[in-house]
């Protein structure tokens, strides 16, 4: 039989034809293996952590976990000064990282958006910190930061600038780590912003030029506002990552000197794998998750409001 215009095979064999049924079921069946795997890999640990957060367990093979209700959460808020300090340090670390990386990344993106000879090579070089492995970065920066034998203090001395203790002093350690994080992740912000820049329409710039706007005015009043959604995405990625930062901090200072760089993730790791407090660390993880979720929602809401304001 012929297919008349406006009619497809499914209409003909509606509900009765095997291939039609398969065709309709495909969107559910084909992704199913991947979805099930992701559900198991993500959902199971999350649910297990939630379950453990109401227990207390030291990893013993002779004593099973013991139900304690909300006791762990109570301890975290009421007794655990170290937990509260860790939250504060995490917030400081994230805020410092964002404050440096977002403006720097945007500036670099604008710089690389023009054409100049050697642009490809220079841009690749700028991307390298982001591609390097965190452990290698940590080891190299520990050497650079060494107050007595490191190259940073040596260079500062050459130009008569004051030397510092960097990661070896309790006051400067957290900021020294923020510098490393900035060095490592600014290229990501730059990449995302470059993509955003490439998608910008050219008309507003033409009108601005006709109206006699300077390059700086074009940038400040046209480029930046149009880039806001892109920058918000970059900031969101960086915020989530900075809140959870672990590998570089652990490899460089292990939370030291003292507790100066002990962010939440580091403290939770110690509570679980050094102090064997699996129930307590699970409750801290749930609180940590709530914190990250909260920050994400804030940024997304901020972006929506900015978009609404723009109209």
């Amino acid at each position: 039989m012929h297919l008349r215009p406006g009619m497809d095979g499914a209409t003909r064999g509606a509900g009765r034809d095997l291939s039609g049924r398969l065709h309709r079921a495909a969107p559910f069946v084909l992704p199913a293996p991947a979805l099930i795997t992701i559900a198991l890999l993500c959902a199971f640990p999350a649910v297990y952590t939630l379950y453990m957060s109401f227990q207390t367990w030291t990893g013993s093979q002779t004593r099973s976990p013991e139900f304690v209700g909300f006791l762990n959460y109570l301890e975290a808020f009421r007794d655990d000064e170290r937990f509260q300090m860790a939250i504060w340090r995490t917030v400081l670390y994230t805020a410092g990282s964002l404050a440096l990386q977002v403006p720097l990344g945007v500036a670099l993106a604008v710089f690389f958006n023009r054409e100049f000879s050697g642009k490809g090579l220079v841009r690749t070089l700028y991307l390298l910190p982001f591609v390097a492995t965190p452990a290698a970065i940590a080891l190299v920066w520990v050497l650079i930061y060494n107050p007595a034998t490191g190259v940073l203090n040596y260079l500062l001395e050459l130009v008569h600038l004051p030397k510092g203790l960097w990661t070896y002093g309790a006051d400067s350690a957290l900021w020294a780590l923020v510098i490393v994080d900035t060095w490592q992740h600014t290229p990501l912000v730059m990449l995302i912003t470059l993509a955003g820049l490439a998608a910008l329409p050219l008309d507003p710039y033409e009108s601005a030029q006709i109206d006699g706007a300077s390059p700086w005015q074009s940038f400040w009043h046209i480029t930046l506002p149009m880039l806001r959604p892109t920058v918000a995405v970059a900031a969101l990625f960086r915020a989530i990552d900075a809140l959870k930062a672990f590998d570089v901090i652990f490899a460089m200072t292990q939370g030291g000197p003292g507790e100066a760089t002990e962010t939440l993730n580091i403290y939770i790791y110690l509570a679980a794998f050094q102090y064997f407090r699996f129930g307590y660390s699970s409750s801290l993880l749930m609180l940590f998750f709530a914190l990250i979720l909260g920050v994400c929602l804030l940024i997304i809401k901020g972006r929506r409001q900015a978009e609404a304001a723009r109209g």
């Binding site: 093979q61 002779t62 000064e81 007595a148 309790a170 030291g256 050094q274 064997f276």
Partner: protein
């Protein structure tokens, strides 16, 4: 006595020789000791040849020595050892993670009372070794238990049950540069004040720093313990934490001041891993750490100060004179799938021959025969032996708070050290540490 395969003296032997040797040993053992039952299955070093066991350890002279000895072990027993060593904190975390996961992939590890016993025993991770000792087919007849120092054996027992065979006793001594001391006409310090004066006189940055000792929060605790005790303080007194007594605050302040004023920059992040080689390069005038480091310093190829190093007991304090010691034993994981092969390893590594060889490499043994071995007596430096023996004699092995959650306690009591080194408010830090230690002790159920 027939030639037989013995640790440290392995040669390629034919199977007949080995079996003959083993039977001969068993026969002699029966006659001589008389405490073995019927040797129905004779002990044979090679009864588990072809098997493989896994060891997780720390980064220290001890592990370096064992690693060098692995070829001998393989020759003697035919057992292959997967030998892994890591930094202290990481090693313990790795071990704990694998034990919690119950993968059964760890067979053996070294362990010490103050750090591990409470926690590991509570978690059921130790394999009790008494049944193995009692089984003639599994234990080497010349194990010679009375040869071990009795104190060391006791340190390896929990509730009367043996969980490890002692392999070494660490002791904290003072390493000092004889040449620098002589040049300034200084004597070896015997009090805390004298040590500070010497550090001040010899402090000459950036060539030489007056005094070095661990500053990193957790690693420093075992080295700081001597100072705490010598100033007349304890971690806990009468079942309650006592970190903020005037004596404790004085101890923290002294230790912090010594490191801040006469230590290398960045010492607050350093443990023996960084400081040990520093002394070997001649950058420290004095260094307080474990006596086994001497083996690096006396080696021409590894240190620039060979022949110029003196060894002494740490100075006494105003109230006490009890330097820190710690016995380490080789333990077996209760989850091991190759327990008999692991028992071979434990016996071998704690045997008289291996410990005697260890003495020559700076590893203090815990067997009387090791200390009396003629080769050691001939080559050992007199002041090292003296410092070691007097420290082991007077030693106090309570180098960490007597609680169950020791790793967390180490971080709590190590924090005031960091504050002291940085010149902060030590009393406030000690008060806070005391509060946190009390919370921990209460949680552990050891608070009175």
């Amino acid at each position: 006595m027939k030639r037989q395969a013995r640790p440290g003296n392995s040669r390629g032997l034919s199977r007949r020789q080995i079996i003959g040797g083993a039977l001969g040993t068993a026969a002699v053992g029966l006659v001589a000791d008389g405490w073995r039952g019927t040797a129905a299955a004779a002990f044979n070093w090679k009864q588990h040849a072809g098997e493989q066991i896994r060891f997780i350890g720390l980064k220290a002279i001890l592990e370096t020595f064992w690693r060098e000895s692995l070829p001998d072990f393989e020759k003697d027993t035919g057992i292959k050892v997967i030998f892994e060593d890591y930094e202290q904190a990481q090693s313990r975390q790795k071990l704990a993670t694998e034990m919690v996961a119950r993968t059964g992939t760890v067979d053996t590890f070294r362990t010490t009372k103050m750090q591990d016993f409470q926690q590991y025993w509570q978690n059921g991770w130790y394999e009790v070794l008494d049944p193995y000792l009692a089984d003639a087919s599994k234990s080497h007849p010349e194990l010679n238990l009375p040869d071990f120092f009795s104190g060391a054996m006791e340190s390896c027992k929990i509730e009367g049950k043996l969980v490890a065979l002692p392999v070494t006793s660490g002791a904290q001594i003072l390493f000092y540069r004889k040449d620098l001391f002589e040049a300034k006409g200084l004597k070896v310090p015997t009090t805390m004040e004298e040590m500070e004066a010497a550090a001040k006189a010899l402090h000459n940055p950036p060539n030489v720093y007056g005094f070095g000792s661990r500053g990193q929060k957790s690693a420093a605790v075992s080295m700081f313990a001597t100072f705490l005790h010598n100033f007349g303080a304890d971690w806990m007194a009468g079942g309650k934490p006592s970190l903020n007594t005037p004596e404790a605050v004085a101890a923290y302040t002294y230790y912090g001041r010594m490191l801040r004023q006469y230590g290398p920059p960045g010492v607050v992040n350093m443990s023996h891993v960084e400081l040990g080689p520093m002394f070997g390069e001649g950058k420290l005038a004095m260094f307080a750490d474990d006596l086994s480091l001497a083996s690096i310093y006396e080696d021409d190829k590894k240190s620039k100060v060979a022949g110029r190093v003196g060894y002494a007991k740490l100075p006494a304090g105003s109230k006490r004179d009890t330097p820190t010691i710690y016995v380490y034993g080789m333990a077996m994981s209760s989850q091991s799938k190759r327990k008999d092969a692991t028992w071979h390893w434990i016996q071998w590594v704690s045997s008289a021959a291996v410990q005697t060889r260890g003495m020559l490499k700076g590893v203090a043994g815990v067997r009387a025969s090791a200390w009396k071995s003629p080769e050691f007596v001939k080559t050992a430096k007199k002041d090292w032996v003296e410092a070691a023996q007097i420290t082991l004699q007077k030693g106090n092995d309570e180098w960490a708070p007597p609680v169950i959650s020791v790793p967390e306690a180490r971080d709590i009591v190590g924090l005031p050290i960091t504050v002291a080194v940085e010149g902060g408010d030590v009393k406030a830090a000690c008060d806070r540490g005391n509060r946190n230690l009390e919370t921990l002790a209460r949680r552990d159920g050891v608070l009175r």
